[in-house]
Amino acid sequence: MGRIHTNIIVKPAACRKLYYETFKKESKMNEKALLALEKANRIRLLDTERESVAAFFARADADLEELSRVDIKGVLPMVHVMPVEAPLRADEVCADFSREELQKNAPQLCGTQWAVPRVIE
């Protein structure tokens, strides 16, 4: 077997022990920015959750720094791992599911329609 060369150091398992704890203090995620993201995603975090989420952000952003060491000059983004061609089908009506089948999981129905709070006064 040949020599082992590793020029990118991968942190051993022991360093991951303090995954959340270490990065809570180092979080750069400010509260205002997090609240804006919560609003955009229709998610309301509890106060007890916010610290953990901020730590998640800090860790993910710290990991992202690794990518700065990769030479991506002139490299195109790879959205798909393989060539994708949307398959087409014949332009004809396919009644695959009945209304009852599609609405069987509805949280609340109003006749044949899904019930939602009033949005127009």
């Binding site: 990118i8 051993p12 991951r16 995954y19 955009a40 998610i43 983004p77 790879m78 791992v81 994708v84």
Partner: protein
């Protein structure tokens, strides 16, 4: 024995599919996934559904809303009542379970098994895979489900790679002593069977985790925006306006790990971060795919661990641990786990990888 179980990310008409989330608790799909249809057409009985971690992104199934669901697939395979478990490999959980519990797991090439009827999380990477006690069982189930499907919008025509594995590149990635011992045992087994092992530097492949976490969160935030409490899924009882319905339903229905990933993914896609983080990660993805192409010009497979340890603790995190499973997820390449180690091969080399897995599955904990 032609009975299988399905992980809860795969939709069935006759059984609820919750994808491990309170958001979909009690949800019953109006249609079967393609893999379910293929299995039944081939004479397999679907014995039931298994709980998974919420939307498949955790370590080994520990974040399912129903409670203690870690290693659910391994626990059922130990009972010898089913041939295998069909799982959706989103963030590598099936592979980690197989590595730690002495099972065989095949994550096929992206696009060889239809994703129609699976819960979409990271659509450019989600792959239906197989967990079983042996490589032979994995192979049988894979052959059953890896068939063309007109409803699968990201299907690829399979061109199986022929021949056998003769040269393997072993990537140097850090693990604990127990996993390192498994790697050594696997290398010994392969060498004894005439396979040449060469140690190679991980190089850019070691950045796969950071790249994958960025893309996983971005795609997950987009895919999970469909869960709004309107047409299906959990709807909160505490709302007065439509906005509150959305917010309360999603806040109550989704777990903390998923919420963290959604928020981070949304941040990655927003404003200047789109180019700075998301597009950069997509470019690095191409560089990593190219690195694998270069390796496969000289080697038939790449050997690396599937997990850093044999038993996780509550301080371990799936977005750190996926260092080992991210390369195959990111590039869509097939991966097989056997004997506690992972082999990644070129596209469509599943049969070749399973042949090596047959040697390795004798190496058990």
């Amino acid at each position: 024995m032609r009975r299988v179980m399905l992980e809860d990310m795969i939709l069935t008409k006759d059984m609820p599919s919750a994808a491990g989330s309170r958001m979909l608790a009690g949800y019953v799909s109006p249609f079967d996934a393609t893999v379910v249809e293929k299995l039944r057409e081939s004479g397999f009985e679907i014995a039931g559904k298994l709980p998974v971690g919420e939307f498949g992104i955790d370590l080994v199934g520990e974040t399912c809303y129903v409670g203690d669901s870690a290693y659910a697939a391994a626990n059922v395979l130990k009972t010898d009542t089913v041939m295998g478990v069909i799982a959706l490999d989103v963030n590598g959980a099936p592979r980690r379970v197989a590595a730690q519990k002495g099972l065989v797991c095949l994550k096929p090439t992206y696009g060889t098994v239809s994703r129609y009827g699976t819960v979409a999380v990271a659509s450019s990477a989600d792959t239906v895979g197989v967990l079983a006690r042996s490589a032979a069982d994995c192979g049988t189930l894979f052959a059953t489900i890896a068939t063309p499907d007109a409803r699968g919008t990201t299907m690829q025509a399979r061109k199986p790679v022929e021949g056998r594995v003769q040269r393997v590149a072993s990537l140097a990635l850090a693990t604990d002593a127990a996993v390192a011992a498994k790697m050594d045992a696997a290398k010994g087994k392969m060498c004894a069977n005439g396979i040449e092992i060469c140690e190679v530097e991980a190089g850019v492949i070691a950045t796969a985790r950071a790249c994958w976490n960025t893309l996983l969160c971005a795609e997950l935030s987009a895919n999970l925006s469909r869960f709004d409490g309107i047409k299906y899924g959990h709807r909160s009882a505490s709302f007065a306006t439509l906005e509150q319905l959305y917010t309360e339903s999603r806040s109550e229905g989704l777990g903390l790990l998923v919420k963290s990933a959604i928020l981070y993914g949304s941040d990655v896609l927003y404003g200047k971060n789109y180019e700075k983080k998301y597009q950069k990660a997509l470019r690095v993805r191409r560089v990593i795919a190219e690195a694998f192409r270069t390796l496969f010009a000289k080697y038939d497979a790449v050997l690396l661990p599937a997990s850093s340890k044999l038993q996780y603790t509550e301080t371990d995190h799936p977005f750190a641990e996926n260092l080992y499973t991210a390369p195959a997820s990111l590039t869509g390449l097939p991966a097989v786990v056997a004997g506690g180690v992972q082999l990644i091969g070129p596209a469509f080399s599943e049969e070749r990888l399973l042949a090596v897995a047959t040697l390795l599955e004798e190496v058990r904990r």
